[in-house]
């Protein structure tokens, strides 16, 4: 389940998730992990923190070592893992965040975005069951935010439970399956995002605003005299909903990427790429690509405007890509995938 904890500054988001890994101990009440109440002994806590990793907003607070690889190795070495395994984890986690070529660099020489990715790699190297990300996209430029969110989706697909804590309503709305809203230290809502955002007063009292897609949809539909549901969460879903039944829908040509970049057909239409492996391969081969980031959305938007497009993606993400596109069926026509 993709979970978001949302609330204004000072609503208690971080205080809450520091309870999840036992940094803070509740004055009253109990925290459960996997159905068992937390124990606050040294060993139990250490065990828990290997399973529940937190990536804080400001990477400078959690990078301690002087080189990238030392920092990524910090967690695993604390877990007394064997050297070969540590090496494997350094490589895989740095590869995932696209920082492998920086492994021997001093951390102080990295840019903010790079430091943020190293902090994430440090958490990934612990191979946690639950990953808590505090404002994962704050301070990142738009492309880098997209890249981080795509990585997060890959992790979810691989079975990691990801919890994002944020005040960014647009991010929360497009990504979350379930939201928990905090206001002044109280949990005021848990459930799917739509019912919460439909309640203007609650949203305002929580220090938040309605997500753009949500409010555009509600105004459009009330003016057209139609039902607000189903609620589109992305622009392509909104478009699918607004398109007429006889509108021409474009075709998405699907090309799974396995080992080598096969000839991308130079057909007319935009080319999008999805997945970290594909992105790396494309960067090396310098192929022409139109949508480096947010490509599924880009191709869907094209399809809604009646244009054909090509989508190249990591083969292991096949189901994720197809599912994402198929969601359009709830709102209108699904573009044909060939």
């Amino acid at each position: 389940m993709k979970t978001v904890i949302i609330g204004a500054n000072g609503a208690g988001k971080s205080t809450m998730f520091y309870h999840f890994n036992g940094i803070l101990k509740p004055k009253e009440g109990t925290v459960y992990y996997d159905g068992k109440p937390l124990e606050y002994t040294r060993d139990a806590l250490s065990d828990l923190r290997n399973k529940v990793s937190i990536v804080v907003q400001n990477p400078d607070e959690q990078i301690f070592s002087s080189t990238v690889e030392e920092d990524v190795a910090f967690g695993p070495l604390n877990m007394s893992i064997e050297r070969d395994e540590v090496e494997r984890r350094i490589v895989t986690s740095l590869e995932k965040v696209g920082m492998l070529e920086y492994r021997e660099r001093p951390t102080v020489k990295l840019s903010y975005g790079q430091r943020k990715r190293v902090a994430l790699a440090g958490a990934l190297a612990c191979e946690p069951e639950v990953l808590i990300l505090d404002e994962p996209t704050a301070g990142l430029d738009p492309q880098m935010s997209q890249e981080v969110m795509e990585l997060v989706n890959e992790l979810c697909l691989a079975g990691t439970t990801v919890i994002i804590s944020t005040h960014d309503v647009d991010l929360a709305y497009t990504w979350a399956e379930e939201i928990h809203v905090l206001r002044k230290g109280k949990l005021i809502y848990s459930g799917s995002p739509e019912p919460f955002f439909a309640n203007t007063e609650e949203v305002a009292l929580s220090g938040l605003v309605k997500p753009h897609t949500f409010s555009i949809n509600s105004t459009f539909e009330s003016l057209r005299g139609r039902d607000e549901a189903p609620y589109p969460r992305t622009n392509s879903q909104l478009l699918a909903k607004l398109s007429t039944p006889d509108a021409k829908i474009g075709v998405i040509r699907m090309i799974p990427f396995d080992k080598e970049i096969s000839e991308i057909p130079q057909v007319c239409g935009n080319i999008g790429i999805y997945g970290s492996r594909t992105r790396r391969a494309v960067r090396e081969s310098k192929t022409r690509v139109d949508y480096y980031f947010n490509a599924i959305e880009g191709c869907c938007l094209d399809a809604m405007s009646g244009l054909d497009s090509v989508l190249v993606y990591d083969i292991e993400l096949e189901s994720l890509v197809r599912d994402t596109i198929s969601v359009l069926g709830k709102f209108g026509k699904v573009p044909e995938m060939i």
């Binding site: 520091y18 923190r49 400078d60 301690f64 070592s65 910090f74 967690g75 070495l77 604390n78 102080v108």
Partner: protein
């Protein structure tokens, strides 16, 4: 960028980066000792040659401008110091005397010679230390210190100060700019006040940072020490032998040449 960051950049691009840091340290310390043990004025020249060649090799024969400046600065201070030594003679032939307020000033041949020796030793020592600094970043140094079993607490303090030092420097620069934007340096008293405010700001943010770092450390299962993934190259026997050899050779050379060159004799015709 401050000098600290520049030095760091230099060290990380050094050709001697992956040499055993402890070996480098041992070598430099022994050379410095040899530099001081004998009274020969020729030994500092050997030390200087070693230091300069280390620096040259480490920086790929391009000694950066700022290091040259730093050396010149040090030189200026040393010259002043040597000048003071030369006029505070207590024994030997008086070459020159004067009275300043209630102090009697004497320059003797002994003090004259001593001043030169101190100057040469100082310059040579600086060169060797610079040679070490341009090839060894602080983290490597701390690893070396760990190998000689310096208390873990001290080593970790060095690492953390190094790590957070950069962050605080970054912030200080931003705050300095912000204060300049609001005319905080308009006048002497105001500059002092502003600098104090920046100091307070940095202090507050450093305590905040320490607080948050503590939490983040716990999140990553910190067990009281920083484990090392890539230990630096071990200091082999050859390092020890080589360093000892150089040191011994310098001392022997020094003992042999003690008193061969007398600066006073050299300058006798010219100055006195």
């Amino acid at each position: 960028m401050s000098e600290e960051t520049q030095m760091d950049t230099l060290a990380y691009s050094s050709r001697m980066l992956y040499w055993a840091p402890l070996g480098k340290l041992l070598f430099c310390v022994l050379v410095l000792i040899a530099n001081l043990v004998t009274e020969s004025i020729l030994v500092p020249f050997i030390t200087l040659a070693i230091g300069l060649s280390m620096m040259a090799y480490s920086t790929n024969f391009k000694i950066p401008f700022f290091i040259a400046i730093a050396l010149l600065e040090a030189l200026a201070i040393l010259i002043i110091g040597a000048g003071l030594i030369s006029i505070s003679g207590e024994s030997g032939n008086v070459l020159w005397e004067s009275h300043f307020l209630w102090i009697n000033i004497y320059m003797t041949d002994d003090s004259f010679n001593k001043a030169w020796l101190v100057l040469f030793r100082g310059v040579a020592g600086m060169a060797v230390m610079m040679g070490f600094a341009t090839s060894t970043p602080i983290p490597h140094l701390s690893q070396a210190l760990r190998q000689v079993h310096l208390p873990v607490e001290i080593v970790e303090l060095i690492v953390l100060i190094y790590r957070y030092g950069f962050l605080l420097l970054e912030r200080m620069e931003i705050m300095y700019h912000a204060a300049a934007c609001r005319m905080g340096f308009n006048g002497f008293l105001r500059s002092i006040k502003t600098t104090a405010s920046i100091g307070v700001g940095i202090f507050i943010s450093s305590t905040n940072m320490a607080d948050k770092a503590q939490t983040a450390l716990s999140c990553r299962n910190y067990k009281g020490y920083f484990p090392l993934y890539r230990a630096p190259a071990k200091t082999g026997l050859k390092w020890i032998l080589f360093s000892a050899l150089v040191c011994a050779a310098m001392i022997i050379f020094g003992l042999e040449t003690e008193g061969i060159v007398n600066m006073y004799e050299l300058f006798k015709g010219v100055l006195f």
